[in-house]
């Protein structure tokens, strides 16, 4: 049976990448409980619709895309989508594991918490997961040029914040919650 074949290949792959999927969902939702809940719904959908997964494509790219698609789908049904994306600093800070040295990079965490979800994910995909710009673009449904533009803006903003240089203009790092088809051309 075809569905069983796909089940055999997709499910173990998803299980193996569960910590990374959790991180993606948590960073997207900026909250552990909301992230877990989103991931559970997305995983149910992925397992039910796994025949949509095309062999040969990277499973992580597919799974992240589906997770992100689920989030956008749920966001579009909210009456106040921007309110949904507001970050509770305490909950967001709780996502970061404190190591033996009791060290927590508060300025970087505050910077990430202040970003819109799409920009947070762009940083996570490129610097956390090590994806190429093309794959990150595929996951977030934007062009690679948009990914590159976001990285430049956010890298400059973070570098300015961490160093003594005066911060970049606020307008340069503002982005909307909705898909930015026109963003790259601007």
């Amino acid at each position: 049976m075809q569905a069983t074949d796909h089940y055999d290949s997709v499910r173990p792959g998803l299980v193996a990448m569960l910590p990374r999927l959790k991180r993606f969902a948590d960073v997207l939702a900026a909250d552990r409980a909301a992230g877990r809940s989103l991931l559970a719904r997305a995983l149910q959908y992925m397992l039910a619709q796994q025949y949509l997964y095309q062999r040969g494509t990277a499973l992580d790219v597919w799974a992240y895309s589906e997770l992100y698609r689920q989030w956008r789908h749920e966001l579009s049904s909210q009456s106040e989508p921007i309110a949904q994306a507001r970050v509770d600093d305490k909950r967001f800070g709780a996502l970061f594991h404190i190591d033996e040295d009791n060290y927590l990079d508060a300025p970087v965490i505050a910077f990430l918490g202040g970003l819109p979800p799409q920009q947070r994910l762009t940083l996570l995909l490129v610097y956390g997961d090590g994806f190429e710009h093309e794959d990150a673009a595929r996951i977030l449904d934007v062009t690679p040029e948009t990914i590159a533009a976001r990285l430049v803006r956010m890298s400059a903003a973070l570098t300015d914040r961490l160093s003594a240089r005066p911060p970049a203009q606020a307008a340069a790092i503002v982005e909307t919650l909705y898909p930015e088809g026109l963003e790259a051309s601007q």
Partner: protein, 130 residues
């Protein structure tokens, strides 16, 4: 001071440039301390971002390990893993003991004893003789 945009510097720091471009940027950075410091600051910011994302993953992996440990240690009086091992060992020892006492599986192969005999009931054929 040479003009080198953040766009080019970020691409340089992220390893997104072609080899020729990398060499050209390297030359500029050697000669310009301000740009060199900016490139270093960008590298430093990226390293801190990587460390922050790694800290989240460390938490997620610790969660998964803890869940696995609880799963493995689950059981009534003894952990399931120990229980399963003891039951399997007891079964194996019992099977070997029974085999040694002559209670092995019945074997029917040519040269290893007689094949089971079945007697089929013979029903008399109805005769057509009048």
């Amino acid at each position: 001071m040479t003009e080198l945009s953040d766009e080019l510097l970020v691409a340089y720091v992220d390893g997104q440039l072609a080899r020729k471009q990398i060499r050209a940027v390297d030359k500029v950075l050697e000669q310009d301390d301000v740009l060199g410091a900016r490139a270093d600051a960008l590298k430093h910011a990226h390293a801190r971002l990587e460390a922050a994302f790694e800290a989240i993953l460390a938490g997620e992996e610790a969660d998964v390990s803890a869940a696995k440990l609880v799963d493995e240690e689950d059981g009534f009086w003894v952990p399931w893993r120990t229980f399963k091992f003891v039951v399997a060992s007891a079964g194996l020892i019992a099977a070997l003991g029974l085999a040694a006492l002559g209670y092995g599986w019945p074997v029917s192969a040519p040269g290893l004893g007689s094949a089971p005999q079945f007697e089929l009931p013979v029903t008399p054929q109805p005769s057509n003789a009048n």
